[in-house]
Assembly symmetry: C2
Homo-oligomer: 395 residues x 2
Amino acid sequence: MEKIVFICLILCLSAVTEARPAKDELLVEKQTFTTQEFALFNGEVLPEVKVGWESYGKLNTDKSNVILITHYFTGTSHAAGKYHPDDPAPGYWDAIIGPGKAIDTNKFFVISVDSLANLNVFDENVVTTGPASINPATNKPWGTDFPVVTIRDFVNIQKAVLQSLGIDSLHAVIGPSMGSMQALDWAAAYPEMVERVISVIGSGESDAWTTALLEQWTIPIKLDAKWNNGHYSLNDIPKAGLTAALMLITQQALTPEFFNNQGKQLNYMPLESAPLNSIASSHSIVDWLRQRAAARAENMDPNSLLYLARACQLYVAGHDNSLAKGLKKVTAPSLFLPSSSDLLLMPYLADSPNQQLGQSSKLLTLEGQLGHLEGVLNIQQHAKTITTFLTHPVR
Amino acid sequence: MEKIVFICLILCLSAVTEARPAKDELLVEKQTFTTQEFALFNGEVLPEVKVGWESYGKLNTDKSNVILITHYFTGTSHAAGKYHPDDPAPGYWDAIIGPGKAIDTNKFFVISVDSLANLNVFDENVVTTGPASINPATNKPWGTDFPVVTIRDFVNIQKAVLQSLGIDSLHAVIGPSMGSMQALDWAAAYPEMVERVISVIGSGESDAWTTALLEQWTIPIKLDAKWNNGHYSLNDIPKAGLTAALMLITQQALTPEFFNNQGKQLNYMPLESAPLNSIASSHSIVDWLRQRAAARAENMDPNSLLYLARACQLYVAGHDNSLAKGLKKVTAPSLFLPSSSDLLLMPYLADSPNQQLGQSSKLLTLEGQLGHLEGVLNIQQHAKTITTFLTHPVR
């Protein structure tokens, strides 16, 4: 559910990008989809929904070459390419999406859609409808009057975007983390449309452990006095609570190995002088974590984080309160790629649906020390697995 | 760093206690130790320190049969026995401390001391000096004017208590979690006094990962508007922040298996109706976690949690900013008992000092699904290991 653009990783990704001939660079443009009277899974109706989307590659004549990419918790529809040649980094899965890459945009029309209640509301390239949008009934931001939205609603918006383009089948749906929830729910909700599913660092449902863990992310926001039960001015948002939430998310998405390597770079020591002498001071590793979180918070809306966490808590593939029932509806072959070092959505969460799906499903693990983030930052280690799976014959 | 008195576990422990003949029941009494002008590790001086202590068994004539038990983060010196025969549960390690038990009070004089800044300030059986104590300079609670304290300071207070009883050697120092930090620091600080060390669910130092994780516990408290930079009235403490901190601590000290078993008892489902229909409602598992945390918060002081977290963050055995240097001072044989399912202080944190200590050290794991809490609630699985280790000849 996480992407952290660490300086080293940016440099690394930039280096890769720069090494590639400029002609191979994807340049992408954000599109906007609008619909009215959008019925939500819980029965509420949104008067208007606007979401952003972007695509890579060309739609073929019979519209049979579509791959939908569903994004993670703190992500957006910017899965690959750059908006401008001088962007510091491309979309998060640029390592596997592009001409000649694992998800080959010379063959496939790859499309991705911003979620409802997208966290990055203040990013100029994000278009979303959520608690920070204007409630037409009051002409003020919805705040916590916004209805609860679910993973199924994200799926249904994506379906509406696809229908607007005349697309009625998907060669594959692929997503990491919260994106994996959308991918598997797609296959359970609309099996006739989904030919293949890849769940990266994913799960079949949110178990009691995961639901409690997601709640922990929301608590700092609700404790921030500026939150005001969700009715704050967008000019004065509860940033301290949001930063605290991101500190927790960041740590849970990573590993001791990562933090201890970072600690070495900071010359971290347990007995640092500042925290030894003042309860108001903190250790170098804490300062580092807080600074990263505060920088990430810049484009984000705290209420939106509450709504995304709730959507994830309510998730069970098929949205019928029984994973077994939901998975029975799945006809697409599926591939699960959990990360063996993941402390956030541990590998057992992918094992369970993989086993229940039986012979039509397979599971391979991502290996490395980035924990949950292996699925975002190191997905290319399974580039060949993905390419092979995309040629998997449809039954 | 954790003890959660789950109803089932209370019943379980009570059943064990009731099955034992009444004559075997330890009845214990809290004692108070007071000292003046207590110099802290960071150079500050506390005008007065009062701490509670309790003991089980009898001190022999040459005072050579003393075992010191050092308590965990949310714990107190109440390691075994009951204050009154009708107490609902005995001290936390009653399963291994008592007549004929692993730490046999027919042989040993077992003693335990409340930490400085003990979390359970409002427990009538706890005596501690910390941010909730009165600052003689202002006649108000110290709040965050209280100086930073360290694990070494806890050790030094224990040493002063022992000296007041004429004790100058310890057959063993044994503690879980934060208690393990005190135990190993004892062996590095006063090797001539310590004959054996047992570190349960412990570590040699707080690495960058652990220090960041401990910080996460403190953040909700500091976000609570009632915290007021640590200067709140003890009649109106920031309970929401404290409850949030305890929700996080509770989850980190346990495991998915535990939460999912608890979820079954609650009929937890991802698509529960209340959270589906209102962003202000929460899932059954979240309500359960919040209620448990709020109940635990009753006797606790939020500022004290900040000070205990800081003491743990600053921990490196020997308190010399080099674990290798600290461990070189240790002459006592040592036994490490990490829990294989621990997500809070993961087993690697015990592996490291165990390996550095070489032949004089050994490590065995606690097995089970309670994570960190295996070391508090299921320590009896290594009862024999402990008894055998306590007969280990001193070199």
